[in-house]
């Protein structure tokens, strides 16, 4: 099992009548990777998962698992195991029966199943709970049972359909770490579906960001966060400040943008748009709230600083958030770590902010994620 088995999607289209749920998806998932599909609800990520698990046949294109074309192979014959959003534990079966259901199907004896159940229960730290019913366990415990049940079948690929969404915040954060640890221990490929960018970034080796059936970007968490390929990715993954404007000059990988409100600003062109973006093009530039800081030596950062009026300030414990008047009624957010300073600014005051060039990214204008 070492190394795991890769999954490839080749020109995958999935249509429901006239509706295109997945449009020409091309993804190579390496064996042993923790790979996430990230996107808002209705973007087609669950549809992709169902196509990989075999519950759904693609309209066009191929799904390959370990290099083998899966066309016509049913979910029960694929080397995948699926963890459902609502877990779908069998409520009338005991925990050990739930966990070893895949062995029951293959005709394993009850003694063998008991033994395997005990091993898996130990792995998920639920020793001695095998004779309980699912209804007697807490949310996090059920979660772990669902993982053990999926792993019991010794799949090459584990598919997870937003399995953490029903848990409360603390447990969700704890389970992220735990899922990642389990994945590294068993070494198989995990394909994870989520609308929560925090989950995707913390756990995944690679992330595919989807919008309306289209995969907008595939990359590591860092790629997706720092160098978003499209305005949608930039605004969907994490918080971001958008500056609209036109390109004035292009200089290698850098561009000067005349923004609507904040003057001329310099930014690096996102790799996907290099060579595409020309002077005169409508563009969007993004700077993260944490990449903005206060200017102490005005004038030194001529093209990487901007001035705006303070609207509001919020204290969030570990940080201050300062909101300033921005483009098109939208506010610019700056977040500064709380390192013992007093309040940053008062309402109505003009502040000059600066940023590092590598933290500003520009791309052709496009659709933003819904707030």
């Amino acid at each position: 099992m070492a190394g795991g088995v890769g999954v490839d999607l080749e020109n995958l289209w999935i249509r429901f009548g006239d509706f295109v749920a997945v449009r020409d998806a091309n993804v190579n998932i390496n064996g042993g990777d923790f790979f996430s599909f990230l996107g808002p609800s209705g973007c087609g990520k669950t549809t992709i998962l169902r196509a990989i698990s075999g519950f759904l046949q693609p309209s066009e294109g191929r799904v390959l698992i370990g290099g083998n074309d899966m066309a016509g192979i049913g979910p029960n014959k694929r080397p995948t195991a699926l963890i459902f959003q609502n877990l779908a534990l069998f409520p009338l079966m005991k925990i050990w029966e739930n966990i070893t259901f895949s062995m029951e199907v293959k005709g394993a004896s009850s003694a063998e199943r008991r033994k395997r159940a005990d091993e898996l229960l130990e792995m998920i730290a639920l020793e001695g709970q095998g004779d309980k019913l699912p209804s007697e366990l807490s949310g996090g415990q059920k979660q772990r049972v669902a993982i053990a049940r999926a792993l019991c079948a010794e799949p090459d690929v584990l598919l997870l359909d937003e399995p953490l969404s029903a848990l409360d915040l603390k447990l969700r954060q704890h389970m992220r770490t735990e899922l990642r640890e389990i994945q590294q221990r068993v070494g198989i490929t995990f394909i994870y579906i989520t609308h929560d960018q925090g989950e995707a970034l913390t756990m995944s080796d690679n992330v595919a960001v989807m919008r309306a059936g289209v995969i907008e970007q595939i990359g590591t968490g860092h790629d997706v966060y720092d160098l978003p390929a499209t305005p949608f990715v930039a605004s969907f993954v994490g918080e971001n400040n958008v500056f609209r404007g036109r390109i004035l000059e292009v200089n290698g990988t850098e561009a000067l943008i005349r923004t609507n409100r904040s003057g001329d600003l310099l930014a690096q062109i996102t790799p996907a748009a290099r060579g595409v973006l020309k002077p005169g093009d409508e563009a969007m530039m993004f700077i993260r709230p944490e990449a903005l800081s206060l200017v102490d030596d005005a004038g030194a950062h001529e093209k990487t600083s901007l001035t705006a009026k303070v609207v509001n300030e919020e204290f969030e414990g570990n940080s201050y958030s300062v909101f300033l008047e921005g483009d098109g009624g939208k506010r610019i957010k700056m977040s500064l770590p709380n390192v013992g300073q007093d309040r940053i600014a008062s309402k109505g005051e003009d502040l000059t902010l600066k940023y590092e060039l590598r933290n500003a990214v520009v791309m052709p204008a496009g659709e933003l994620a819904a707030e």
Binding site: S53, F55, G74, P75, N76, K77, T80, A81, L82, F84, Q85, N86, A88, F90, L92, M93, F101, S102, E104, V105, K106, R149, A153
Partner: protein
Amino acid sequence: MGKTVASKAEKLSISTLLISIIPIVIIVLVLFDTLVSDGFSAASSLIVGLIILWVAVICGVLATELFSDFFRTNGRLLGSVMLGLVAFWIIVLILLPQLSMLDYSFRYNLPPSEQGGPKDVYTLANYRHLIYGAGGGEGTYNTVDLMVFLRTIIAAMAVTVADLILCYPLAYYLGQSRGSGFVRLLVVLLIIPYWINEILRAFALKIVFADGGILNAAMMKLGLIDQPIDFIRADVALYAGLGYAYILLMLFPMYNAIESLDRNQIEAARDMGASWIRIHRRIVIPHAKPGITSGMTMVFMLSAGALAAPQILGGPSSLWFTQLVYQWFNGSLNWQQGAAYAIVLLVASITIVLTFMKIFKVNMGDIGK
């Protein structure tokens, strides 16, 4: 537990007590009086015991479960009216008729002049008649009636199983197709024929199955048979009629149960490699068990107690046990004998249902789901 009961009981108002307790007490006293005047026998003390038990159970249940919260939410007047109606229902419509049947079944069939006289005492003669026949002698059994009884029970079981087999796939299909327009139409189409009177439906089936009926005519036209088949004599019509009469009572509880099954569970089982048979055996049927039990109980009880279908569709040589009961009541005007037969059928049916529930590990509470 004891504390809450006591606190609830304290909240009982006088009017509540008057409405619920007094009619029951009066009934008990009246029945008790008639029993005592006839002198005590084993049977009469049994009846008195049963009545007292019933009353105690009803009072206990009503007092602890319903009253305090019930009056708080509904007010005194409306609450009293509602409770009074429920008491009327339970006592007048259920308890009294059944108790009087039970009482009848232990008495002799006497002319009016001798009723209440010295000859009007309790007896087991009516039950003895079912087993030993008119002679009541040793060694001879009432084989005719006993065979009819046995045949009724077995046939009712067969009808129940046949309905189960017919309904399960349909209920699964309806339950798992998530109320699309087509499914709703299908359900309506299933219900509409039941707007027609049961007797008319039986006659309609008789027309279909008769010698010169549609079915025979069609099969002869197609050259499948030369001679019409006597479906009535072969009891095909009877079983079809019984099966059809109560099939919806099998379908709907099962449909409801299967509809509430999470689809993901089926997919999870499939994902783990389970065959369709295993999915039904391990996931769907266990989940639908309360519905299946509820449906089977109703179909069995009602077909064992059916009268119209056997009367209309039964062959000339086949009798349904209810027809014997009917004959005793209406033909022979021997209500006492009829009551005994009816009670035997009731007790046997309940015993059979409870036995099967025990075997298949179903709780009584599940049926109400």
